[in-house]
Amino acid sequence: MRKRKDPSSVKVKPGDVVIVFFVAVSAVLLLSYFHRVPSRDTGSTAIVEVNGKVIHRIELGKGLKRKDLKVTGQIGASVVRVEGKKIRMLSSPCRDKICVGMGWAEKSGSSIICMPNRVIIRLERSPKGRRIEAITE
Protein backbone atom coordinates (compact mmCIF):
# COMPACT_ATOMS: atom_id res chain seq x y z
CA MET A 1 0.00 0.00 0.00
CA ARG A 2 1.23 3.48 -0.75
CA LYS A 3 2.13 5.41 2.36
CA ARG A 4 0.60 8.81 1.97
CA LYS A 5 2.81 11.67 3.10
CA ASP A 6 0.51 14.58 3.34
CA PRO A 7 2.11 17.96 4.05
CA SER A 8 -1.17 19.72 3.54
CA SER A 9 -3.08 18.16 6.39
CA VAL A 10 -5.93 20.19 7.79
CA LYS A 11 -5.44 18.92 11.29
CA VAL A 12 -5.33 21.85 13.64
CA LYS A 13 -2.25 21.69 15.80
CA PRO A 14 -1.71 23.29 19.22
CA GLY A 15 0.65 25.84 17.72
CA ASP A 16 -2.23 27.24 15.66
CA VAL A 17 -4.21 28.12 18.73
CA VAL A 18 -1.13 29.78 20.18
CA ILE A 19 -0.71 31.86 17.07
CA VAL A 20 -4.32 33.01 16.93
CA PHE A 21 -4.18 33.82 20.61
CA PHE A 22 -0.95 35.72 20.20
CA VAL A 23 -2.25 37.81 17.31
CA ALA A 24 -5.47 38.58 19.16
CA VAL A 25 -3.59 39.57 22.28
CA SER A 26 -1.26 41.89 20.37
CA ALA A 27 -4.26 43.53 18.77
CA VAL A 28 -5.90 44.10 22.15
CA LEU A 29 -2.66 45.42 23.64
CA LEU A 30 -2.25 47.88 20.80
CA LEU A 31 -5.83 49.00 21.24
CA SER A 32 -5.46 49.67 24.92
CA TYR A 33 -2.23 51.51 24.29
CA PHE A 34 -3.75 53.79 21.69
CA HIS A 35 -6.88 54.62 23.56
CA ARG A 36 -5.23 55.02 26.91
CA VAL A 37 -5.66 58.80 26.75
CA PRO A 38 -9.02 59.73 28.23
CA SER A 39 -10.68 62.39 26.19
CA ARG A 40 -11.84 65.37 28.10
CA ASP A 41 -15.28 66.77 27.81
CA THR A 42 -14.16 69.91 26.13
CA GLY A 43 -14.16 69.40 22.42
CA SER A 44 -11.14 68.29 20.45
CA THR A 45 -9.36 70.13 17.71
CA ALA A 46 -10.07 68.67 14.31
CA ILE A 47 -7.36 68.97 11.70
CA VAL A 48 -8.19 68.37 8.06
CA GLU A 49 -5.19 67.59 5.90
CA VAL A 50 -4.80 66.94 2.21
CA ASN A 51 -1.58 65.25 1.18
CA GLY A 52 -0.07 66.14 4.52
CA LYS A 53 -0.86 69.82 4.23
CA VAL A 54 -3.16 71.28 6.85
CA ILE A 55 -6.20 72.79 5.20
CA HIS A 56 -8.51 73.36 8.15
CA ARG A 57 -8.08 73.58 11.87
CA ILE A 58 -11.37 73.44 13.69
CA GLU A 59 -12.07 73.71 17.39
CA LEU A 60 -14.96 71.38 18.00
CA GLY A 61 -17.34 72.43 20.70
CA LYS A 62 -20.88 71.93 21.87
CA GLY A 63 -22.55 74.92 20.34
CA LEU A 64 -20.96 74.70 16.91
CA LYS A 65 -23.52 75.02 14.19
CA ARG A 66 -23.62 72.41 11.47
CA LYS A 67 -21.18 73.37 8.72
CA ASP A 68 -20.06 71.53 5.62
CA LEU A 69 -16.57 72.06 4.26
CA LYS A 70 -15.53 71.13 0.77
CA VAL A 71 -12.03 69.68 0.66
CA THR A 72 -10.30 69.11 -2.65
CA GLY A 73 -8.15 66.01 -2.63
CA GLN A 74 -6.19 63.89 -5.06
CA ILE A 75 -9.13 62.50 -6.99
CA GLY A 76 -11.89 64.94 -6.25
CA ALA A 77 -13.82 66.87 -3.66
CA SER A 78 -14.69 65.38 -0.28
CA VAL A 79 -17.15 67.05 2.00
CA VAL A 80 -16.48 67.25 5.71
CA ARG A 81 -19.34 68.00 8.07
CA VAL A 82 -18.80 69.60 11.45
CA GLU A 83 -21.62 69.61 13.98
CA GLY A 84 -21.09 70.49 17.60
CA LYS A 85 -18.33 68.30 18.96
CA LYS A 86 -18.47 65.83 16.09
CA ILE A 87 -16.97 65.65 12.65
CA ARG A 88 -17.38 63.17 9.84
CA MET A 89 -16.66 62.57 6.19
CA LEU A 90 -19.97 63.31 4.54
CA SER A 91 -19.03 62.31 1.01
CA SER A 92 -15.94 61.37 -0.90
CA PRO A 93 -15.08 60.51 -4.49
CA CYS A 94 -13.41 57.25 -3.54
CA ARG A 95 -14.70 53.91 -4.72
CA ASP A 96 -15.32 52.09 -1.46
CA LYS A 97 -16.45 55.02 0.72
CA ILE A 98 -14.83 53.41 3.72
CA CYS A 99 -14.12 56.88 5.10
CA VAL A 100 -17.78 57.80 4.90
CA GLY A 101 -18.76 54.56 6.58
CA MET A 102 -16.67 55.44 9.60
CA GLY A 103 -19.32 57.83 10.77
CA TRP A 104 -18.85 60.50 13.40
CA ALA A 105 -15.61 61.11 15.18
CA GLU A 106 -15.39 63.17 18.32
CA LYS A 107 -12.77 61.71 20.59
CA SER A 108 -9.31 63.17 20.44
CA GLY A 109 -6.86 60.73 18.95
CA SER A 110 -9.32 59.31 16.47
CA SER A 111 -9.06 59.91 12.78
CA ILE A 112 -10.89 59.38 9.53
CA ILE A 113 -8.78 58.72 6.50
CA CYS A 114 -9.62 58.65 2.82
CA MET A 115 -6.58 57.06 1.23
CA PRO A 116 -7.50 57.43 -2.44
CA ASN A 117 -8.24 61.12 -2.01
CA ARG A 118 -5.40 61.69 0.47
CA VAL A 119 -7.71 63.42 2.91
CA ILE A 120 -7.17 62.95 6.62
CA ILE A 121 -9.36 64.20 9.44
CA ARG A 122 -7.64 63.83 12.75
CA LEU A 123 -8.71 64.89 16.19
CA GLU A 124 -6.27 66.24 18.71
CA ARG A 125 -6.66 67.42 22.24
CA SER A 126 -7.39 71.09 22.48
CA PRO A 127 -4.73 73.16 24.11
CA LYS A 128 -5.92 74.35 27.50
CA GLY A 129 -7.72 77.62 27.85
CA ARG A 130 -8.53 78.30 24.26
CA ARG A 131 -12.20 78.67 23.67
CA ILE A 132 -12.12 80.27 20.28
CA GLU A 133 -14.50 78.45 17.99
CA ALA A 134 -13.11 79.60 14.72
CA ILE A 135 -12.42 77.93 11.45
CA THR A 136 -9.18 79.03 9.92
CA GLU A 137 -7.74 78.24 6.58
Partner: protein
Protein backbone atom coordinates in the same frame (compact mmCIF):
# COMPACT_ATOMS: atom_id res chain seq x y z
CA UNK B 1 5.76 20.71 -16.29
CA UNK B 2 6.95 23.05 -13.55
CA UNK B 3 6.85 25.94 -15.96
CA UNK B 4 3.23 25.31 -16.85
CA UNK B 5 2.30 24.88 -13.23
CA UNK B 6 3.81 28.26 -12.44
CA UNK B 7 1.60 29.87 -15.07
CA UNK B 8 -1.47 28.11 -13.76
CA UNK B 9 -0.86 29.12 -10.18
CA UNK B 10 -0.15 32.73 -11.08
CA UNK B 11 -3.34 32.81 -13.13
CA UNK B 12 -5.29 31.40 -10.24
CA UNK B 13 -3.86 34.05 -7.99
CA UNK B 14 -4.78 36.80 -10.42
CA UNK B 15 -8.31 35.52 -10.90
CA UNK B 16 -8.78 35.29 -7.16
CA UNK B 17 -7.68 38.87 -6.69
CA UNK B 18 -10.06 40.02 -9.42
CA UNK B 19 -12.94 38.15 -7.82
CA UNK B 20 -12.01 39.50 -4.41
CA UNK B 21 -11.91 43.07 -5.73
CA UNK B 22 -15.52 42.77 -6.77
CA UNK B 23 -16.68 42.06 -3.22
CA UNK B 24 -17.95 45.06 -1.27
CA UNK B 25 -15.81 45.81 1.77
CA UNK B 26 -17.24 43.84 4.67
CA UNK B 27 -15.55 45.96 7.29
CA UNK B 28 -14.98 49.70 7.10
CA UNK B 29 -11.24 49.31 7.28
CA UNK B 30 -8.93 50.38 4.49
CA UNK B 31 -6.87 47.44 3.42
CA UNK B 32 -8.91 44.76 5.16
CA UNK B 33 -9.27 42.15 2.46
CA UNK B 34 -9.86 38.46 2.28
CA UNK B 35 -6.49 37.97 0.68
CA UNK B 36 -7.78 35.15 -1.50
CA UNK B 37 -4.86 35.43 -3.88
CA UNK B 38 -2.62 34.19 -1.10
CA UNK B 39 -4.23 30.80 -1.61
CA UNK B 40 -2.16 30.48 -4.77
CA UNK B 41 0.98 31.37 -2.87
CA UNK B 42 0.28 28.90 -0.08
CA UNK B 43 -0.53 26.08 -2.48
CA UNK B 44 2.73 26.83 -4.27
CA UNK B 45 4.56 26.63 -0.99
CA UNK B 46 2.94 23.39 0.08
CA UNK B 47 3.25 21.51 -3.18
CA UNK B 48 6.32 22.96 -4.83
CA UNK B 49 8.43 24.56 -2.18
CA UNK B 50 9.65 27.97 -1.05
CA UNK B 51 11.37 29.08 -4.22
CA UNK B 52 8.24 28.41 -6.22
CA UNK B 53 6.08 30.20 -3.69
CA UNK B 54 8.20 33.33 -3.98
CA UNK B 55 8.09 33.16 -7.76
CA UNK B 56 4.33 32.87 -7.73
CA UNK B 57 4.02 35.77 -5.30
CA UNK B 58 6.30 38.06 -7.30
CA UNK B 59 4.50 37.32 -10.53
CA UNK B 60 0.99 37.57 -9.19
CA UNK B 61 1.57 40.82 -7.33
CA UNK B 62 3.41 42.54 -10.17
CA UNK B 63 1.03 41.43 -12.88
CA UNK B 64 -1.96 42.01 -10.65
CA UNK B 65 -0.77 45.51 -9.85
CA UNK B 66 -0.26 46.24 -13.54
CA UNK B 67 -3.72 44.93 -14.33
CA UNK B 68 -5.32 47.08 -11.68
CA UNK B 69 -3.46 50.05 -13.02
CA UNK B 70 -2.56 51.51 -9.66
CA UNK B 71 1.08 52.17 -8.86
CA UNK B 72 0.37 52.46 -5.16
CA UNK B 73 -1.65 49.26 -5.24
CA UNK B 74 1.21 47.50 -6.97
CA UNK B 75 3.71 48.73 -4.43
CA UNK B 76 1.54 47.86 -1.44
CA UNK B 77 0.59 44.47 -2.84
CA UNK B 78 4.11 43.57 -3.87
CA UNK B 79 5.78 44.54 -0.64
CA UNK B 80 3.10 42.98 1.54
CA UNK B 81 3.05 39.84 -0.60
CA UNK B 82 6.80 39.34 -0.55
CA UNK B 83 7.22 39.97 3.14
CA UNK B 84 4.31 37.76 4.13
CA UNK B 85 5.51 34.98 1.84
CA UNK B 86 9.02 35.08 3.25
CA UNK B 87 7.66 35.08 6.78
CA UNK B 88 5.38 32.15 5.97
CA UNK B 89 8.30 30.22 4.52
CA UNK B 90 10.36 30.79 7.64
CA UNK B 91 7.46 29.79 9.86
CA UNK B 92 6.80 26.74 7.72
CA UNK B 93 10.36 25.51 7.90
CA UNK B 94 10.93 26.22 11.53
CA UNK B 95 7.68 25.30 13.15
CA UNK B 96 6.24 22.61 10.90
CA UNK B 97 5.89 20.20 13.75
CA UNK B 98 3.92 22.59 15.93
CA UNK B 99 1.89 24.46 13.41
CA UNK B 100 -0.32 23.41 10.57
CA UNK B 101 -0.92 25.30 7.38
CA UNK B 102 -3.73 27.19 9.03
CA UNK B 103 -1.59 28.83 11.69
CA UNK B 104 1.09 29.66 9.16
CA UNK B 105 -1.53 31.33 7.03
CA UNK B 106 -2.77 33.44 9.94
CA UNK B 107 0.77 34.66 10.49
CA UNK B 108 1.00 35.34 6.76
CA UNK B 109 -2.21 37.35 6.79
CA UNK B 110 -1.13 39.32 9.85
CA UNK B 111 2.26 40.21 8.39
CA UNK B 112 0.63 41.00 5.06
CA UNK B 113 -1.66 43.56 6.68
CA UNK B 114 1.02 45.07 8.85
CA UNK B 115 3.42 45.40 5.94
CA UNK B 116 0.71 46.95 3.85
CA UNK B 117 0.02 49.43 6.63
CA UNK B 118 3.70 50.36 6.83
CA UNK B 119 3.91 50.75 3.06
CA UNK B 120 0.80 52.93 3.13
CA UNK B 121 2.45 54.98 5.86
CA UNK B 122 5.29 55.71 3.45
CA UNK B 123 2.75 57.29 1.17
CA UNK B 124 0.51 59.04 3.63
CA UNK B 125 3.29 60.08 5.94
CA UNK B 126 0.93 60.48 8.84
CA UNK B 127 1.35 58.19 11.79
CA UNK B 128 -2.35 58.27 12.58
CA UNK B 129 -2.73 55.48 10.08
CA UNK B 130 -1.30 53.06 12.59
CA UNK B 131 -4.44 53.46 14.62
CA UNK B 132 -5.92 50.90 12.24
CA UNK B 133 -3.30 48.34 13.18
CA UNK B 134 -5.17 46.51 15.97
CA UNK B 135 -8.32 46.16 13.91
CA UNK B 136 -6.38 44.92 10.91
CA UNK B 137 -4.66 42.38 13.11
CA UNK B 138 -7.99 41.14 14.38
CA UNK B 139 -9.38 40.88 10.86
CA UNK B 140 -6.31 38.97 9.73
CA UNK B 141 -7.25 36.09 12.03
CA UNK B 142 -10.41 34.94 10.24
CA UNK B 143 -9.05 35.74 6.79
CA UNK B 144 -5.86 33.85 7.55
CA UNK B 145 -7.86 30.92 8.86
CA UNK B 146 -9.98 30.83 5.75
CA UNK B 147 -7.05 31.05 3.35
CA UNK B 148 -5.21 28.40 5.35
CA UNK B 149 -8.07 25.94 5.34
CA UNK B 150 -8.85 26.53 1.69
CA UNK B 151 -5.22 26.09 0.63
CA UNK B 152 -4.80 22.96 2.70
CA UNK B 153 -7.91 21.32 1.30
CA UNK B 154 -7.10 22.22 -2.26
CA UNK B 155 -3.50 21.13 -2.04
CA UNK B 156 -4.33 17.79 -0.46
CA UNK B 157 -6.81 17.16 -3.26
CA UNK B 158 -4.24 18.33 -5.81
CA UNK B 159 -1.63 16.11 -4.30
CA UNK B 160 -3.77 13.06 -4.76
CA UNK B 161 -4.39 14.11 -8.32
CA UNK B 162 -0.73 14.76 -9.01
CA UNK B 163 0.28 11.41 -7.58
CA UNK B 164 -2.22 9.57 -9.67
CA UNK B 165 -1.29 11.29 -12.89
CA UNK B 166 2.44 11.10 -12.33
CA UNK B 167 2.68 7.61 -13.68
Amino acid sequence: MIFVDLGVLVSIGLILSIIEASFPPIVPLPGARLGLANIATVIALLLYGPKFAIEVTILRTLIGGLLKGSVIGLFLGFSAGIVSTVVMIIVYKVLISLISTVGMSVIGAATHNITQLCAAFLFIGHSGIFLYAPYLLLVSIPTGLFVGFASARVSSALQTYMKETAA
